[in-house]
Symmetry: C2
Subunit: 210 residues, 2 copies
């Protein structure tokens, strides 16, 4: 199993992640690289059920610690049942959000204890990390404008305050600075072709060096 | 909040837990003690959804670590949203299975790492434990005979081997020996009146000393 083949896409709401993921998929299709596109939370039927519980809690308050444990439960299931088997088959695995999102959203956004997240990471992933993480980043005002333009009903995470998303962004950027070999930051404040050009240049180099 | 009011009932399949729980409920009703009867995994709508995922995984293999995290997720939700609020209102909380079941089933039965369970216990419960744990215990042959007499379809846990349940029982008994102040062992190998008499004598003493 080669973690080099495991690529994650991270970034806050409205940063252009959906568009970027589609572009990345096209990259793999055009080159006929075997790949698996997946997302967190989710990726397997059980993990998707957990995702649904996280996004739609109806009338019950979801305790912050419950949320954290559910995220790691879905992640373990996803890693063991989908991601690792695909990597063993020498496929690229492109995952829309992974462990960094937990630090950014639950640690930064909700203010949950970072040592608790680290303890759960150690317990569940045992050092398993992506070889490449593309962090999409843009100023918050641009992200909010894009979220409003979508016009769809917002979920539990998307209805958070600007402060929440500012903290999410900060943690993402801090993690990228702390692990520059794994992270590449994509500036998504410009138009789609400029974003795609950045992604293409990174993937071209990365995928040829495996 | 007084942990003295928090009472858990533990024991393997077929040990007579359902009958004992009904008898305990009657004890609280007859004395007009304010009480809450609940169970694990479950107890709140979110926690019950998690219970359902644990018991019915359909065609997907549930990774052992996923199971463990889901159990703790449902437990945190249950403790924070139901058990602690009830204890604050000075109600007795009677819970059908709690933390000891995780050590017995996941640790003993499935052979998951005990340090992992301890780490999750520390992270989520922070020392919160019942004041009294009634451990129902009987030789495995008696339990299996009772399970077969039930005649209903067995769930994921009930279809385990005899070895599995032997390990479950051993861990329960070891935990009881290690914490004799909290645990009372009820011998359920006899008939229902003899079991009820043991429970009654323990509860009479325990509930008058609060």
């Amino acid at each position: 199993m080669n973690q080099h083949f495991f690529i994650t896409i991270e970034g806050s709401e409205g940063v252009g992640k959906t568009t970027a993921v589609k572009f990345i998929e096209t990259f793999f299709i055009e080159r006929a690289y075997p790949y698996l596109l997946t997302r967190e939370p989710g990726g397997t039927p059980i993990a998707e059920k957990i995702r649904d519980m996280l996004l739609h809690t109806e009338n019950e308050i979801l305790a912050a610690e419950t949320e954290l444990l559910l995220l790691f439960a879905s992640r373990v299931q996803h890693v063991e049942m989908l991601i690792k088997p695909a990597l063993k088959q020498k496929r690229f695995v492109v995952c829309d959000r992974f462990i960094d999102a937990t630090y950014a959203y639950q640690g930064g956004g909700r203010g949950l204890s970072i040592p608790s997240i680290q303890a759960l990471e150690t317990l569940t992933l045992e050092g398993f990390l992506p070889g490449l993480t593309l962090l999409l980043d843009a100023p918050l005002d641009i992200c909010f404008e894009r979220m409003q333009q979508r016009g769809k009903k917002l979920d539990r995470f998307e209805t958070q305050s600007k402060d929440f998303f500012e903290r999410v962004r900060q943690v993402y950027l801090e993690r990228a600075q702390a692990a520059p070999d794994r992270f590449k930051i994509i500036d998504t404040s410009g138009d789609i072709p400029s974003v795609n050009a950045q992604i293409l240049s990174i993937l071209n180099v990365y995928c040829e060096n495996n």
